[in-house]
């Protein structure tokens, strides 16, 4: 279950109640210019190949605005609120895949049994070379599980283990307290949780006008703060965490950013002459203080339809190994299914930063327009919203029974390290080719990456990310004589500056992520029937993963209130990839040595699909088998 912070909960509920009370009378005053209430009901029904129904999400959203005007020294005072509630029926309608009866008994590969045509053992059927190995099958039964990654790839001689997939109130195995621990109702009704996510936004705006004409505009409350100029991939737009469990990376960020309690102040200077010869058409300085308790991205819990990078399944399986022990395929000698005991390998816990002043997050942005150039300079100190697995925790040596910190043992805690970011963005319109260019870049320090060359199995690296985008309208008379098509392309680049990789006896070891990688996206959008019918296709290609997503869709505005969107999402490419899985890391030397004289904690590089290949496959490659057709109907009021 998620953390309950009494003060915050009280505050949220109070504000929610206030917002609701404020919105109710507004419904009778919709025509008034200073008050507005509107909303929508939406049904999103998705079907996934080989799975059946993967989403039956029903959303009711209410948005309200009350303009108050001048209050004391403040002007343009207004209150805004957005309430959102969803019910995803997939957990009831397709419960064999995603609900209380999901999963089942599993078999784990034991290639040592070859040439047996069926070289598998059931969960709990691995070897236990010493009394410390093995686990209680009654505590960790072979039921309600899948094999990690089974939807994407065979075990193929690599590591594999069981992952419980039922909601945490049905099966608590592998549920990580405060992080990935949703019960059935929290899956069904995603916003109704201890963080009061049904209050999607609730903030007050107010301006302070100075004699100079400059304005200090402030927004205080639960909100989204958007930085940057790019779509789909986030380089600067990192202030709010993101809910990837909603639809992986494919929903509009507007719908999947997780709003936070933030104070945002903009000192708006307008046209400004800094000194003689240097004048800006617009200049703005922004301070963002995210004082909310830290929240990570919602990466999806194993058993949900969308689990980005399948990381939630890896984490749940690993936590189950730590808590209850379990069978790991092809482990001993790189080939024998092995039963580990509790507290020997796996994920122990997640360290979510508690609320403290030092754990809040601060951002600065200088943004403006200089001639034909729009620009921003950004700086942010924040907590990584992605988890980092840090090894080096005390664990039991299954051979000796001793508990100690063992080098390169696959036993982790989850941390969210502090990250510092500096960056900037530009946009520029090139008259000559009638094209708008957008550039965004960020340099971060403090990010952590899995690294099988290090004893704690992670290392820190500075990272450079950038996006170069171009937008152009092109007439294609054969397809539409009256309206141009929008072409919008982007190249997203990521460079891990302190990347480490070495060739070892059995393969490469080090950081599985690509040292340099690029993802290219292309949006083509057309408009027919006065913009009421709009087909589009979005493609994204991960260059190093050799994985491509293609998402065609057609949006039909039936009238001002009713919109239908039919679409699909297909992937092509290589899918799963292999990398050093640390079976040959020799943590419990000499018992685990892969070859005579192997130094303790030094990987020999034996590889498999799990667990680190996911970082090479990326979000597109890891969702290779998640082809979907999608129908969304929205009625606005």
């Amino acid at each position: 279950m998620q953390t309950t912070i009494k003060g915050l909960r009280f505050w949220c509920c109070t504000l929610a109640g206030s917002a609701t009370l404020a919105l109710v009378p507004m419904t009778t005053a919709v025509a008034a210019e200073d008050a507005r209430v509107n909303g929508f009901y939406e049904n999103a029904t998705y079907g996934r190949e080989g799975v059946g129904l993967s989403k039956f999400r029903n959303t009711l959203q209410l948005e309200g605005e009350k303009r108050i005007g001048d209050v004391g020294i403040f002007s343009n005072v207004s209150i805004n609120g957005t309430l959102r509630g969803t019910y995803d029926g997939v957990y009831d309608l397709n419960k064999d895949e995603y609900g209380r009866t999901a999963g089942g008994a599993i078999l784990l590969e034991d290639t040592a049994l070859a040439p047996n045509p069926d070289p598998f053992v059931p969960h709990g059927g691995g070897i236990a070379p010493t009394p410390n190995f093995g686990f209680d099958i009654n505590q960790n039964p072979n039921d309600g599980m899948i094999v990690l990654g089974e939807n994407l790839h065979p075990q193929d001689g690599g590591v594999g283990f069981g992952v419980p997939v039922r909601p945490c109130d049905v099966d608590s195995r592998g549920c990580i307290d405060d992080y990935l621990d949703k019960d059935l109702n929290e899956l069904r009704f995603q916003e109704f949780n201890d963080r009061a996510d049904f209050i999607r936004e609730l903030y007050v705006d107010f301006d302070l006008n100075f004699d100079s004409g400059n304005v200090l505009s402030t927004r205080l409350g639960k909100q989204q703060v958007i930085w940057g100029r790019t779509d789909l991939f986030r380089v600067l737009d990192v202030i709010n965490p993101v809910d990837f469990s909603r639809n992986n990376i494919y929903d509009e960020l507007e719908d999947i950013r997780i709003p936070m309690w933030i104070l945002k102040s903009d000192y708006r200077m307008g046209p400004t002459e800094v000194f003689d010869g240097l004048a800006f058409d617009d200049l703005n300085f922004q301070v963002v203080w995210n004082f909310d308790q830290f929240r990570p991205h919602d990466i999806g819990q194993c058993g949900q339809p969308n689990v980005i990078l399948d990381a939630g399944c890896f984490f749940r399986g690993m936590n189950n190994l730590w808590e209850n022990g379990g069978t790991v395929a092809n482990f001993a000698n790189g080939s024998i299914a092995t039963d580990f005991g509790p507290g020997q390998i796996g994920i122990r816990e997640a360290h979510l930063p508690s609320w403290s002043l030092s754990n809040t997050q601060l951002g600065l942005k200088l943004e403006g327009v200089y001639g034909d150039l729009g620009f921003s300079l950004n700086a942010l100190t924040y907590r990584s919203q992605l988890p980092s697995l840090r090894g080096g925790i005390p664990a039991e040596n299954a051979f000796t029974g001793d508990t100690a910190v063992w080098p390169s043992l696959i036993a982790f805690d989850i941390h969210f390290p502090r990250v510092n970011l500096v960056g900037g963005s530009l946009d520029y319109y090139s008259q000559g080719i009638d094209t708008v260019f957008r550039v965004e870049t960020a340099y971060t320090s403090g990010e952590e990456f899995a690294n099988t060359l290090r004893e704690k199995l992670y290392s820190e690296s500075d990272v450079v990310r950038y996006v170069v985008g171009a937008d152009k309208n092109i007439f294609i008379p054969a397809l539409n004589e009256s309206q141009a098509f929008l072409f919008s392309g982007q190249i997203f680049g990521q460079h891990i500056l302190d990347h480490e990789r070495e060739q070892r006896l059995l393969g490469e070891a080090g950081i599985p992520d690509w040292e340099q990688n690029w993802i290219a996206t292309l949006l083509i959008k057309g408009f027919y029937m006065n913009g009421r019918l709009s087909p589009q296709i979005i493609t994204a290609h991960d260059v190093r993963a050799q994985a491509t997503a293609v998402a065609p869709s057609v949006e039909w505005l039936v009238n001002d209130n009713f919109r239908l969107t039919a679409g699909a999402n297909f992937k092509v490419g290589d899918g799963a990839r292999k990398f050093d899985d640390c079976r040959t890391c020799n943590p419990w030397d000499p018992f685990t040595a892969a070859y005579p004289g192997q130094p303790a904690g030094e990987s020999a590089g034996l590889s498999g699909y799990e667990p680190l290949g996911r970082f090479q496959s990326g979000p597109i490659g890891m969702a290779q088998k998640e082809d979907e057709i999608q129908l969304t109907a929205r009625y606005s009021f």
């Binding site: 025509a31 210019e33 509107n38 929508f40 004409g213 304005v215 505009s217 989204q224 958007i226 940057g228 100029r229 779509d231 509009e252 960020l253 507007e254 903009d266 708006r268 307008g270 046209p271 400004t272 002459e273 004048a279 800006f280 058409d281 617009d282 703005n284 943004e367 327009v369 001639g371 034909d372 729009g374 946009d427 520029y428 319109y429 008259q431 009638d434 094209t435 708008v436 957008r438 937008d471 152009k472 309208n473 007439f475 004589e481 009256s482 309206q483 141009a484 408009f527 006065n530 913009g531 009421r532 505005l557 009238n559 001002d560 209130n561 919109r563 606005s636 009021f637």
Partner: protein, 442 residues
């Protein structure tokens, strides 16, 4: 003595001649001003058989063919609409604008290239009657439009309703509610500061800010256009998309694309919303024509679309598909000007503008596609400011009050219903900064 006397007489003669010449010149200048700004002082337009109060319909339209532009003539001929004729009335522009014209009379000249002008600071740059023998007469008229008093120094259409209509069935497919705001940075004559807002680092001439209020799928879409004083420089435009909460710079090519799916492109706004240098301009002639000028308060209005506390109602629409405003038309002095896009990939081959000689608004424009076929026809109804909202009285602004853009080929139209307000409080300069889009939108 004789010499002295002769000198004295000569001086008097010289002084008298100079004074006479100056007086003649002043009188000539004043005649230019009067002719340009008060054309109906001395002459009342007339057309055989035409009189106020009559209705021109399918049965009698042929008689008035020369007083109606060909596209609108076609509509009446096909029985799609009628014209109710009103009295010709003078739409006097603000005296400060007239005075600014007087002050700079004769000081404004065109440069070598289309789009170059010098000597202008405010007022109508070329008030003289266009000369058919002047190859750049059309361009001068275009400048008169660009530097026209249009919406004055600033104004807002607040709110502004656009309806997308199927012309065959009459079905209203979509209703979009906007606010439009206009601000002149230069050439200001009535609202402080005059004649220019400073600082003005990019040397802007004008800015337009648009905000969408309804419906939900496009709510908070905002458009900001910065037009440089240097006509050879392209506009800078930004679009804020409500569903993305992000400001995106627009490629200028997008100003020739349908705006939010309507039948208008951004370039169509106000009759023509682009650079002088984007077009080749040709003056085709002057004549009296029926134009959509009227007193808003004298009309039978639409009681449903807009309701507010001051009782203001917008212009109603009827005719084929509801694509024609229920207004009256006046016989007025009109300059016919043709504009041909310089860019051969422009979706239009040409526009024919019918500019009102007194106000230099463009109440009628007919557009042709690349093949030269009639494509769209644009009507902007002009309301007299003294018969509109009380706050507009005496503003000297010919109020854009209704529009109809008809796509003849698609049998589709977009209609516009305005609440135009000449009120500087509604359009402060801070509103026309990029940051305002972000502050307002998210």
């Amino acid at each position: 003595m004789t010499t002295t006397k002769n000198k004295s007489v000569f001086r008097w003669l010289m002084a008298g001649c100079t004074a006479g010449l100056m007086s003649t010149a002043l009188m000539a200048d004043e005649a230019v001003i009067t002719n340009s700004f008060y054309p109906y002082n001395t002459e009342t337009p007339s057309f055989d058989g035409l009189k106020a109060g009559m209705v021109i319909d399918q049965s009698n339209v042929a008689q008035f063919k020369d007083a109606i532009d060909p596209a609108f003539y076609g509509f009446i001929e096909q029985g799609m609409t009628t014209i109710t004729v009103g009295e010709t009335t003078s739409f006097d522009l603000h005296p400060n604008y007239v005075e600014a014209t007087r002050v700079s009379l004769g000081q404004v000249s065109l440069g070598n290239e289309v789009g170059e002008i010098s000597g202008w600071s405010a007022g109508r740059p070329f008030p003289e009657e266009p000369d058919a023998n002047d190859p750049r007469a059309g361009e001068k008229l275009a400048w008169n439009y660009k530097y026209g008093y249009n919406w004055g120094d600033s104004a807002a259409i607040y709110p502004f309703y656009w309806k997308y209509r199927d012309m065959d069935s009459g079905k209203v497919e979509r209703t979009i509610k906007f606010n439009f705001h206009f601000l002149n940075y230069k050439g200001r004559v009535t609202q402080e500061p005059t004649p220019e807002i400073t600082p003005n680092p990019s040397d802007l001439f004008r800015a337009i800010y648009v905000q969408v209020l309804d419906p939900a799928d496009v709510r908070n879409t905002q458009l900001l256009i910065h037009r440089a004083a240097d006509d050879l420089k392209r506009d800078n435009s930004w679009l804020y998309l409500g569903f993305q909460r992000r400001v995106r710079r627009l490629a200028t090519g997008q100003v020739t694309d349908a705006f939010l799916g309507s039948d208008l492109m951004i370039e169509d706004f106000e009759g023509y919303n682009g650079r002088i240098s984007d077009m080749n301009w040709t003056y085709k002639g002057t004549r009296y024509m029926l134009m959509p000028f009227y007193n808003h308060n004298d009309l039978t209005l639409d009681a449903e679309t807009h309701i507010d506390s001051d009782g203001y109602q917008v212009v109603s629409f009827s005719g084929q598909g509801g694509c024609f405003p229920d207004i009256t038309w006046q016989l007025r002095k009109v300059y016919e000007v043709e504009s041909v896009p310089v860019d051969e990939s422009h979706p239009l081959s040409k526009r024919v503008h019918f500019m009102d000689a007194q106000t230099f608004t463009i109440p009628r424009t007919v557009s042709y596609d690349r093949k030269g076929s009639l494509w769209k026809t644009f009507t902007i109804g002009q309301a007299h400011p003294d018969h509109h909202l009380p706050k507009n009285k005496g503003s000297g602004v010919s109020i854009d009050d209704s529009f109809s853009m008809i796509d003849v080929q698609a049998s589709h139209c977009t209609t516009g219903q305005f609440k135009g307000q000449v009120d500087p409080e509604l359009s402060p300069p801070q509103m026309f900064n990029v940051q305002h889009l972000r502050a307002t939108g998210s």
